[in-house]
């Protein structure tokens, strides 16, 4: 049985994994780059080993150094978190070779699912629906027309050699097919020197819905229902929720079964996620599998009542799953938002810096997974995510109200954060009503603009506060000058002012 776990990661996920280890009575080992000596995961762990300079390639991606730290520390298992080496089949293999348990799936499952074409073929063989389309380039107009009729309209025609939208055509009506194919081919020819095209079913109003699965090493696989992740900015998830507001019990059952079938097709064990693209009519297609813990796993934990990291460790220990599909159910509604160190009012420019204050949102139904603390400098080298805020309530409506309440109380100064932007998302009618697709953010730009709620008097209060702070500083530095300027009552300031200094 595992006794000591090295967490080959940093930030909130390293701490989240260590927390479950601690609850299980396992020792924890942190690894850290030169930029992370003061990072919370180093402070939280039992042991800590430096593994190189700040850039990830020189530290968190250095398999050799991580394995060396594992050996020096006596760790018998490695948890990769997400990102970094978590979907690296070679690393999983190396762990095996060194006799260290990799807390994750088999190298075979990682590499099969890691290659999109192999994954697609495997899914087709397993009977899991994939987005209909050609897998071979088409150079012949008749062939193209035949394929389009097979797939059914609407379709997207894409240049084989393409990119950047060149040579792309959306076809909705039968009478446009010939023109569109010709147009795409000639545009592709002139842009890339190759007129070959692909044809793919065009998914209108696409939703990104994924299913959490857990499999043990004895062939048992269950799903833990769906997560709705359609609120995305530049393919980055921003808000996730479960259950999905568009899901029906029938489709949930079908998709869950498809997710389990997908995992079975690669003899999957560990925690994993099957991502689907779903249209407004709840037709669903396999998109890809993530062979690791997801950033948004906490919403599933809350609604299903299962600690996914503990399950990962139990599975890695060779234990059979403690529950069957029929034991699992969804209770209430959970939403997660990701707090980034970025400036949403300035083109989402990253905003690294020193945290000056932090007031964390607390209370009923609020989970907060973060790693920043007052005085911590968010480094420039890694992902700008500071924390995740997860709320639960009995209903979706109450969960949104709770999330707004939590964001209201969540204060971070020193760096800009996405908190005001998240606030705005929660007030967009399409979000409130639960009818949104992956186009949500681009379609709601207007709602997502910073709003000026501030009256003149609110501006005045801001100015007054800065002014009072300034004259207070001035008085400290030049007591005589300050007194002279500020009249008789000013002296009281010195006497009565804050006893909070320490």
């Amino acid at each position: 049985m595992i006794k000591k776990v090295l967490v080959a990661n940093r930030g909130e996920i390293a701490i989240r994994v260590m927390r479950s280890c601690r609850e299980m009575g396992l020792q924890t080992v942190a690894v850290y780059s030169e930029a992370d000596r003061k990072s919370m995961h180093v402070r939280y762990a039992d042991d800590a080993y430096p593994i190189g300079p700040a850039p990830s390639a020189d530290s968190y991606l250095r398999m050799d150094r991580i394995l060396e730290a594992a050996k020096l520390s006596g760790a018998d298992a490695i948890h990769p978190g997400y990102g970094f080496l978590s979907e690296n089949a070679r690393f999983a293999e190396l762990c095996q070779q060194e006799g260290i348990i990799f807390i994750g799936p088999s190298p075979y499952a990682i590499s099969t699912m890691g290659d999109k074409i192999t994954a697609r073929k495997t899914m087709i063989a397993a009977g899991v629906p994939v987005v209909p389309g050609t897998t071979e380039p088409i150079r012949d107009i008749k062939k193209a027309i035949q394929v389009i009729k097979e797939i059914g309209l609407p379709v997207m025609i894409k240049a084989s050699a393409g990119g950047g939208g060149k040579g792309m055509r959306l076809v909705k009506h039968e009478e446009d097919i010939v023109n569109a194919v010709s147009g795409a081919r000639s545009e592709a020819k002139s842009a890339f020197g190759d007129d070959a095209v692909y044809i793919e079913k065009y998914i209108q109003s696409p939703h990104h819905i994924e299913f959490q699965i857990l499999g043990d090493q004895h062939g048992n696989i269950v799903h833990l229902f769906e997560r709705e992740c359609s609120v995305q900015r530049r393919h980055q998830k921003v808000v996730e929720e479960t259950p999905s507001p568009i899901m029906t019990p029938k489709v949930r059952m079908e998709m869950g079964a498809a997710a389990v079938a997908a995992a079975k097709a690669v003899n999957y064990y560990g925690a994993g996620t099957i991502e689907f693209i779903v249209d407004d009519n709840l037709n669903y297609y396999f998109l890809e599998m993530n062979t690791r813990l997801q950033v948004e796993h906490p919403i599933t934990e809350r609604v299903v009542g299962v600690d996914l990291v503990k399950q990962q460790i139990n599975i890695a220990n060779g234990l059979p799953l403690a529950f069957k599909q029929e034991d699992l159910r969804q209770f209430g509604h959970a939403i997660e938002v990701r707090i980034y160190a970025e400036d949403p009012d300035n083109n989402f420019m990253p905003s690294p810096g020193i945290i000056k204050h932090i007031t964390e949102p607390l209370g009923l139904g609020v989970r907060h997974d973060g790693y920043a603390y007052v005085g911590y400098e968010i480094p420039i080298y890694y992902d700008p995510m500071i924390s995740k805020l997860i709320v639960w309530a009995e209903t979706r409506q109450e969960a949104i109200a709770r999330l707004k309440r939590a964001l209201y109380a969540y204060k971070i100064t020193g760096v800009k954060t996405s908190i005001p932007y998240l606030h705005r998302i929660l007030e967009v009618p399409d979000f409130v009503e639960g009818r949104y697709t992956t186009h949500f953010i681009e379609e709601n730009q207007e709602y997502l603009q910073p709003r000026v709620n501030c009256t003149d008097s609110c501006m005045d209060v801001a100015a007054i506060t800065a002014f009072v702070d300034y004259i207070t500083k001035l008085e400290k530095l030049q007591p005589d000058k300050a007194h002279k300027h500020l009249g008789n009552n000013w002296k009281d300031l010195g006497r009565k002012r804050s006893v909070l200094r320490y």
Partner: protein, 168 residues
């Protein structure tokens, strides 16, 4: 004695009329406010105005007279203008030196410098690329310019607002 303050682009005069402990009477552009002002954490103030509770966070800017002020949903730039600040402001208008400097608004790492000192750069060309948190930003010139001095080299870590290239 009254001061001037600049709030975003608005300039107002401000004066403490009286105070008693944390109770202030303050006039801003002749409008008089009675407030209770308490610093609760370093740089965090609790303000009571007509029994409304406001929470204001101050982040000091490049000097002790310049602040970023966060209210619940908004952020303002506030500058206290005294004689020194007035002088600097007038000077700034004259020589427009800032426009001749390329600086990154955030800390980051210099990934690439595409020219060397003395090179001529065409309008719209990228001069320097800075990376922070997995995102690269390209800094371009808007008109045809000449690179006067390069103050950093590739691989350097730069602070926010640190001048990297001077152009003429």
């Amino acid at each position: 004695m009254s001061y001037e303050v600049k709030i975003n682009d608005r300039i107002s005069t401000i004066e403490v009329l009286s105070r008693d402990g944390s109770a202030f009477q303050i006039a801003i552009d002749k409008k008089v406010y009675e407030l209770d002002i308490a610093e609760v954490e370093q740089g965090v103030y609790s303000i009571l105005l007509n029994n409304k509770s406001y929470n204001i966070e101050l982040v000091e800017g490049k000097n002790s007279k310049s602040y970023t002020v966060n209210t619940l949903y908004e952020t303002f730039g506030v500058e206290i203008i005294d004689a020194e600040a007035k002088y600097l402001m007038s000077r700034k208008k004259d020589d427009g030196e800032d426009a001749n400097t390329i600086a990154s608004p955030m800390p980051g790492k210099v990934v690439k410098i595409l020219f060397k000192e003395g090179d001529a750069v065409k309008a719209g060309e990228t001069v320097i690329v800075v990376s922070a948190m997995k995102m690269e930003s390209e800094y371009k010139v808007k008109q045809d310019r000449v690179i006067k001095r390069i103050l950093v080299k590739e691989g350097d870590t730069v602070n926010g607002d640190q001048p990297m290239v001077i152009i003429e």
